[in-house]
């Protein structure tokens, strides 16, 4: 019989159903033979889950076996208890298990502890009164029982750290004894004393010591001892070392331990074993939170891992990069992530990396334009996997633009967004979320800059609605976008003729099963029938950012209510005081849920409520009487219903208000501008990989130089470049304060040459420029050497003579490859009048060299660069050009300088 049951186990293992034989396994646990009994228990634990019908038949046997004199029988039953007892049957065996905790055999005590652990996992309340038993068993004479007890304690401590702080001393002393080889030799593994117990203890200590200085201080000595004792030549030694690093990075930081941890990490990273590299990267990711500077020395190892063909290692490295992202290296990292995201097709990981890209981009984006481009890429490749909120943020960003008072930049941003979206629409299959963004942007700004005609945009929108005809949300967005475009056209006084496909589309939607679509279609019809003035007030162009004030108290209705009450109407009873109306409120909740899941929030702050209410007769006025619930379908309607003294409207408006607030916080970037702006300007240089030239302080660059020169032979320039752009961060952020002052600017300009800051001779300038090719070969050394260095003082002189500059500007605009330069120059010369603008000019002047490389480094530009006077002008041109065509992902926000300079 035993053989047959084992065959059955095989059958199941190979993926075939063997349920016909389960009952025989259950019968087998009654057998008198010990081996057969245990095999029977094994089979039932493999076959059945805890909710299986046959469990009832087993519980009785388990109860009997737990009382057996033979400890092997008890152990077999306890194994089954761990696997098969569910919440309801816990009380049936619990008393016996508790008795077994004092069993003379250590194996039984161990298994009884684990059974309690299992009960704790299943239902913590069932064993909450028995927690003291775990503490008692920690002092068990048998190391096996003690080791097993660590498992439930680990879980308990994870859930509630503070109740177990008193055990820190015990854990530390146990760990000390283990490390000093006080345990029986049988627990040794590869000459390490009980490594698995050590690891478990270190995990527990990490939990207990996290942000607790007092508890951590007790641990320092023992952790330091283990660091010293660990044999780093064996795998298990490294496993314990790794656990030590995790512990050190979790507890209150101690300098000595951090140094040991950093040493261990560098040993891991330098090892040839991929396993150790993996552990090293992981450990680095943990330690970097406490001491960011240790990343610096491992940069090349990290790059190696990033480019390793091993997918696991690569992912781990991305995780590390994610942890060390700053505003200075975000572009490089996110670009890499997106590239990687495109190359994989594992949806689970794709979702994860997409959400990380989004998170990093939101947190550190150097410019809005870059953010939009990045988001486009993410949406295009993983659109269905990202959260809808991200799309809303993107729309919001496009709508709000850079800031309050820079309209030209805003409209540039928008038209570039429109352009890119029109281009992207050509792609065959786009994710729904991305289409929603596209439709909204096209509707809002498609015709704003006059580049595209209304009929062109509407044609595109109709195409979208047709091509994705099974996606109602997209269709709804498209209809609303159409409505906006027609409204803008009417408001501008132009005659609107609907495209034939648009007509047919509308007819289809008017008969749509979706009330939402139907309503939108009716609204569109109604809007088109109105005169210009009315339309203007319904859908004012570019009003999406205007705040809508919601009178939550509905004070404007007071008169009306007063009047009604005087006429004998029932006063309003708050919802909480009403009874028997539960179903209605439920209904309402449901609707709200639907509204939010539809994600049509943007409409809420787009339309001024009063006018809408007045002008759109057909659908919205349906919401006048008692139960306005269905109209809460999407947010705009809930605003309209504010005119009605109903519960729904009130609740709806608060909800909307809340949501807006949340978004505001998410987008609190404006407030950060002053602090991040300088690093933004340096990160622009980072893109071109010339970080060394202008963005690092002396000390850091020296260390890096030595490191580089040592390894120079075998390291390709691309890697160094990448390393520089990834790790150049910390040094540059330190420089933040310096960039604001023009006096310190020149010094940072020639840091590479290690010249003392006071010496500003042209000679040192030259070396500073010529040196970088030695260190990092960035492609165009010849061009660079012919281009003379920028002398900041000369630049200043040039600035003091604006007239000559302007005249030369005209000359050069003819040679330079910049077509629009005259107008832009005009713009800029106007602004340079203010004295403080010199600073911003210098900034742009300094950022010029990388830009030239980027734009194309045409010879005309190089010529322009060689003459010193008009340098600034050229740089301005290029800056403006770049900003306009949006070539650089990092084109700066003009507001940056305003922020710096006051």
């Amino acid at each position: 019989m035993k053989e047959y049951i084992i065959r059955l186990v095989y059958v199941e293992m190979l993926g075939h159903d063997a349920s016909f034989g389960y009952i025989h396994a259950v019968k087998m646990i009654h057998d008198d033979s010990l081996l057969v009994k245990r095999t029977g228990y094994l089979a039932v634990t493999l076959f059945l889950n805890e909710d299986h019908d046959l469990i009832i038949l087993i519980v009785n046997t388990i109860q009997k076996d737990l009382k057996s004199d033979n400890y092997l029988v008890v152990c077999a039953a306890l194994n089954a208890v761990c696997k098969l007892i569910n919440e309801e049957t816990i009380p049936a065996v619990l008393p016996q298990i508790v008795e077994l905790l004092a069993h003379p055999k250590e194996a039984v005590r161990k298994k009884a502890i684990m059974a309690l652990h299992r009960f704790y996992q299943k239902s913590p309340s069932s064993v909450s009164h028995l927690v003291s038993n775990f503490r008692k068993r920690l002092c068990d004479n048998d190391p096996g029982v003690m080791g097993a007890t660590l498992c439930p304690l680990f879980d308990l401590i994870t859930n509630d750290v503070n109740s177990y702080k008193d055990l820190v001393i015990s854990f530390v002393s146990i760990l000390k004894q283990v490390a000093e080889r006080r345990l029986p030799k049988a627990y040794d593994y590869h000459q390490m004393p009980a490594p698995f117990i050590q690891i478990k203890l270190l995990k527990i200590l990490a939990l207990l010591g996290s942000s607790d200085k007092q508890a951590s201080e007790n641990m320092y000595t023992v952790v330091g001892d283990i660091f010293r004792k660990c044999d780093s030549s064996s795998n298990i030694g490294n496993a314990v070392l790794y656990e030590c690093i995790c512990c050190v990075s979790s507890i209150y930081p101690n300098h000595k331990l951090l140094v040991s941890a950093a040493d261990a990490i560098s040993r891991f990273l330098k090892s040839d074993s991929h396993n150790l590299k993996y552990m090293g990267i992981d450990a680095l990711g943990r330690l970097i939170k406490i001491s960011p500077e240790i990343a610096e020395q491992h940069q090349l190892a990290v790059i190696d891992c990033l480019e390793d063909p091993d997918d696991t290692l690569k992912r781990k490295t991305f995780e590390l990069l994610y942890k060390m992202t700053k505003s200075t290296n975000v572009e490089v990292i996110v670009d890499r992530m997106i590239d990687y995201m495109n190359s994989i097709n594992d949806n689970h990981y794709k979702t994860e990396i997409a959400s990380r890209c989004v998170e990093l981009a939101e947190q550190f984006a150097p410019s809005n334009q870059w953010f939009i481009q990045t988001m486009n890429k993410v949406f295009e490749h993983a659109g269905d996997l990202v959260n809808i909120k991200v799309a809303h943020n993107l729309m919001r960003l496009i709508a709000e633009g850079f800031g309050e008072d820079d309209d030209t930049a805003d409209s540039q941003l928008r038209s570039s967004a429109v352009e890119s979206y029109l281009h992207i629409l050509g792609e065959p299959k786009l994710p729904s979320v991305f289409l929603q963004v596209i439709c909204w942007v096209l509707g809002e700004y498609g015709t704003a800059d006059g580049k595209y005609s209304a009929s062109y945009i509407t044609g595109k929108l109709c195409d979208v609605a047709e091509a994705y005809s099974n996606d109602e949300t997209v269709k709804a967005y498209a209809v609303t976008a159409l409505m906006k475009i027609y409204a803008f056209e009417i408001a501008a006084g132009r005659k609107v003729d609907m495209l034939p496909e648009c007509h047919s589309l509308m007819e289809e939607f008017l008969a749509s099963h979706s009330t939402d679509l139907q309503q939108r279609a009716y609204e569109l019809q109604a809007v088109i029938g109105l005169d210009a003035h009315a339309v203007e007030s319904i859908l004012p162009s570019d009003a999406s950012c205007e705040d809508i004030e919601v009178d939550k108290a509905l004070s404007f209705l007071n008169d009306y209510i007063q009047e009604s009450i005087e006429k004998g109407a029932q006063p309003y009873i708050p919802e909480s005081e009403r009874t028997g109306m539960l179903n209605i409120s439920n209904f309402r909740n449901q609707d709200h849920h639907e509204a939010s899941s539809h994600g049509l929030r943007f409409e809420a702050y787009e339309l001024p409520k009063q006018t809408v209410q007045a002008r759109i007769p057909p659908a919205s006025l349906a919401s006048t009487e008692l139960v306005p619930v269905p109209e809460a379908m999407y947010p705009r309607e809930s605003y309209q219903t504010t005119t009605v003294p109903s519960v729904s409207s009130d609740a709806a408006s608060t909800e909307l208000k809340l949501r807006l607030d949340g978004v505001q916080k998410r987008w609190g970037r404006q407030t950060h501008f002053p602090s991040t702006s300088t690093s933004n300007s340096t990160s622009l240089k980072t893109v071109n990989g010339i970080t060394q030239v202008d963005g690092s302080n002396t000390a850091n660059s020296r260390t890096r130089e030595t490191y580089d020169s040592r390894k120079q032979v075998e390291i390709s320039p691309e890697k160094q470049k990448l390393a520089a752009s990834l790790f150049g961060g910390p040094s540059k952020t330190e420089k933040k304060s310096a960039t604001g002052h023009k006096s310190s600017k020149p010094s940072s300009h020639m840091v590479k040459s290690h010249a003392p800051k006071s010496s500003m001779e042209v000679a040192s300038e030259k070396t500073s420029v010529q040196q970088p090719p030695d260190l990092l070969d960035f492609g165009e050394p010849t061009v660079r050497s012919t281009a003379p260095s920028l002398d900041p003082f000369k630049d200043l002189e040039g600035l003091l003579e604006p007239t000559t500059q302007v005249s030369s500007a005209v000359n050069h605009s003819s040679t330079a490859a910049v077509t629009k330069s005259p107008d832009i120059m005009g713009l800029y010369t106007e602004t340079t009048a203010g004295a403080h603008h010199k600073d911003s000019d210098i900034l742009s002047g300094l950022s010029k060299p990388p830009m030239t490389n980027m734009v194309g480094g045409t010879t005309t530009m190089q010529v322009a660069q060689s003459s010193k006077g008009p340098n600034l002008k050229d740089s301005l041109e290029k800056d403006a050009l770049v900003r306009q065509i949006g070539v650089t992902p990092s084109s700066q926000n003009p507001n940056l300088f305003k922020d710096i300079l006051g």
């Binding site: 245990r38 194996a107 684990m114 097993a148 698995f196 117990i197 290692l313």
Partner: protein, 143 residues
């Protein structure tokens, strides 16, 4: 819950032993095994012994024709699990004497008994070979 499952799979991808510490239906098991076996068998010696799969990691080690795969939570110490696999193999080695795939095939229940002693509720509870093997040997003697 640290360890989610332990699998032994041969080079052809046939499962030789499977122990799950969380309940999966037969279908789920089959799909999971297929996926991860394909993933792990495709890797070479130089690559690291860890593979991320869905929301957990797989630590694997190869002994001749047999692969040992252990699925663990994300915060588990991978290197320790790798050594745990070796400890398991050493333990079986001590019992069977130069353990091979056939030993596990023909003494499936014993391999399971050893695992039951070493791992409970997904936690490593016993690492002393003597302690692990005593009950197994006693069982043998009684029958």
């Amino acid at each position: 819950m640290g360890i989610r499952f332990i699998l032994m799979v041969n080079k052809q991808g046939q499962t030789r032993l499977a122990q799950y510490y969380e309940w999966l239906t037969l279908e789920e098991r089959r799909a999971l095994e297929g996926e991860i076996v394909r993933k792990c068998l495709a890797r070479n010696e130089q690559q690291c012994s860890f593979v991320e799969h869905r929301n957990y990691k797989i630590v694997y080690r190869r002994y001749a024709s047999l692969f040992f795969l252990v699925g663990v939570d994300n915060d588990e110490n991978e290197l320790a699990i790798l050594e745990f696999i070796h400890l398991l193999v050493e333990t079986m080695d001590r019992h069977f004497g130069n353990v091979c795939e056939l030993d596990i095939m023909f003494h499936l229940e014993k391999a399971h008994f050893m695992l039951e002693e070493m791992v409970m509720n997904g936690c490593i509870v016993e690492t002393s070979k003597a302690q692990i093997l005593t009950p197994v040997q006693l069982l043998e003697k009684t029958s």
